[in-house]
């Protein structure tokens, strides 16, 4: 039973970045392999502010999110926008390169050992059959709240409409006068900041190493494909399913180290049987 609890937490941690990554991929029309490392990088930035500089935790997080958003826009301007004309496969290669630059930067500066934040220890509370710490509660709550926020933004704000128009049909949107460039930039701002927050949550609940980002990326893509590429609700559903199933697989001890293999097996099966995912449309992006 406690595995189910882990699963829900895992799903919650994956939910926000999954939805944001799905948004990024849908708007920009390629799979951003550097996303996981963007998550990790922000988590390390928080570490820098919090542990090295001694700032309090909320301030560290706020600063790091801002930097993460700025970095996201820089990545867009410097790497992805100029390469857009070469198509999604080349963008994939570039994102792989970027992922490794970030990964090795983390490795160079902070080393391979797991890191922890400077925050007060809090005991767990008993909620039903689970024992849960206030931090975990906060993470779950915030994750779902912000995920809802993304949906709301897309539906009700001007920039959200611009994003949707740009994603559906770039030419048509440009002709109709939608500021597509603004849509792209805000996509990168929001998705990078969200990646950052997701990374912080991840670091709070699990460990933080230079590999954390990349490994999380694999889970995220499993969730995306399971839910249906291009479908944000699907990403959310996919994240919960992947989280719960991969944690519950830990019940069988032989499978415990293979959580990621379970996530991947689910994705692989999905591609075999129904490549468009649970909620996806036939044509993908």
């Amino acid at each position: 039973m406690v595995y189910l609890g882990f699963g829900i937490i895992a799903g919650a941690i994956l939910a926000l970045p999954s939805v944001a990554l799905s948004l990024l991929c849908r708007n920009c029309k390629f799979f951003n392999l550097a996303y996981g490392d963007q998550m990790g990088l922000t988590a390390y930035l928080v570490l820098f502010f919090n542990v090295s500089l001694g700032l309090n935790f909320p301030a560290s997080v706020a600063l790091s999110l801002i930097i993460s958003a700025i970095l996201g826009v820089i990545f867009y301007w410097v790497v992805f926008k100029p390469l857009r004309k070469h198509g999604p496969l080349v963008l994939l290669i570039a994102s792989l390169g970027l992922a490794f630059v970030i990964h090795n930067t983390e490795l160079a500066i902070w080393g391979p050992n797991p890191q922890k934040y400077n925050i007060p220890f809090e005991a767990g509370l008993k909620v039903g059959p689970f024992i849960i710490t206030p931090i975990q509660l906060a993470v779950i709550g915030l994750s779902f709240a912000l995920t809802g926020g993304i949906f709301a933004m897309l539906r009700y704000t001007g920039i959200g409409r611009a994003m949707r128009a740009t994603a559906d049909n770039l030419e048509l949107a440009t002709i109709r006068g939608v500021d597509t460039e603004r849509a792209f930039i805000w996509t990168w701002i929001i998705c990078s900041a969200t990646a950052g927050l997701g990374g912080v949550f991840l670091a709070l609940i699990t460990t933080l190493t230079p590999w954390t980002g990349f490994i999380t990326l694999l889970f995220l893509f499993s969730a995306l494909i399971l839910g249906g590429v291009g479908n944000l609700v699907g990403a959310l559903v996919g994240a919960m399913i992947i989280g719960i199933v991969s944690e519950c697989a830990g019940i069988i001890s032989a499978l415990a180290p293979y959580k990621i293999a379970i996530a991947f097996a689910i994705m692989f099966l999905c591609l075999l049987i129904r490549p468009s995912g649970i909620l996806g449309k036939e044509r993908g992006f």
Binding site: L33, V79, L89, L92, G97, L98, F100
Partner: protein
């Protein structure tokens, strides 16, 4: 000193085989493979398990023996078979889909294989890795000798040359022509009567065979392998080599491999290691390669050696039907 240089040439040649294989998949046919390390791993472990002398590992107090002590050709062939088969398995569902999906699936498969290598101690001795992998003709030429290194170098270069010739001939053949057509426009190629899935699968499996053999050679070269040698970093490095050297061009693949793995990686080995931060220099190295990859993509996407145009021969007269 000679032994050192021979060693460097050997390992660079092994990596060149990997880059060549990647060129066949991506440069010829446009297949995105981000799991090079996985095929490399399966080739290395297959041959290591078959070739190395039996050694023991313990799992929950139960003793397992790993290693069959077979001869090296068997190791090489078995590596080719398992790696090719892995390519086949991955290809069945994924080659039907868009290219991005292949990229993601291959990343995951490579990592999962590495996890298997770490955790299935009964098969792979886990993190301890497999040791005492025999060099060819070890009875006459012991592993630590110059002669053994030379033999391995000759073997590696021969295989590299053979693979290179095969790849070049494929490029100019009608088979290669179909691959290049697939890379640009799958749909049109399909409507011209070519079974696109078949061509992609053959290409993917061929690449797998090359990578598996490279893995087997690697295991023999290092005489001891362990899972950390197959982290995704190596996949990324191979892509760096191909992009910089020139994708679509086999000489570009070799050049890229030689430049990045040879000059750069091995060359910077001489920099002093900063105490307490032994991971710093390698990390900086890889950062440089990553930046170089992005810069090349932006400024000179075809790489150093662009794709060669095919020259078709002219027949004498053309009898035009007017």
């Amino acid at each position: 000193m000679t032994s050192f240089i021979i060693g460097i040439i050997t390992i660079v040649a092994i990596y060149c085989i990997l880059v060549l294989a990647l060129n066949i998949r991506w440069g010829y046919c446009g297949l995105l493979d981000f799991g090079v390390a996985g095929f490399f791993l399966i080739g290395a472990y297959t041959s290591a398990i078959l070739i190395s002398a039996p050694s023991e590992s313990y799992l929950f107090g139960v003793r397992y023996t790993v290693g069959y002590g077979l001869s090296w050709p068997i190791g090489l062939i078995a590596a080719a078979v398992t790696s090719g088969f892995l390519a086949f398995l991955i290809g069945i569902p994924t080659l039907r889909l868009r290219g991005d999906y292949l990229a993601i699936v291959t990343i995951g498969v490579a990592e999962i294989l590495r996890y298997v290598a770490i955790n299935e101690k009964w098969l792979t001795r886990g993190v301890q890795g497999i040791r005492n992998i025999a060099r060819p003709f070890e009875s006459s030429f012991p592993a630590a000798s110059l002669a053994s290194d030379i033999i391995l170098l000759v073997l590696t270069l021969s295989i590299l040359a053979l693979f290179f010739i095969i790849a070049s001939r494929l490029y100019t053949s009608p088979f290669g022509r179909v691959l290049r057509a697939i890379r640009e426009d799958e749909v049109v190629t399909s409507f011209l009567g070519k079974s696109v899935l078949n061509f992609k699968m053959l290409t993917f499996v061929l690449g797998g065979i090359y990578m598996g053999v490279a893995g087997a050679l690697f295991a023999i070269y290092t005489t001891a392998i362990e899972p950390y040698q197959f982290i995704p970093t190596y996949t990324f490095l191979m892509w760096g080599c191909l992009i910089v050297g020139g994708s679509g061009n086999n000489w570009g693949a070799i050049l890229g491999g030689a430049l990045i793995m040879g000059l750069f990686v091995q060359g910077t080995r001489f920099l002093p290691s900063i105490p307490g931060q032994h991971q710093l220099i390698p990390a900086l190295r890889y950062i440089a390669v990553g930046i170089l990859l992005i810069v090349v993509l932006r400024l000179r996407p075809r790489g150093l050696l662009p794709e060669k145009a095919i020259k078709t021969e002219e027949t004498g007269n053309v009898n035009a039907k007017s």
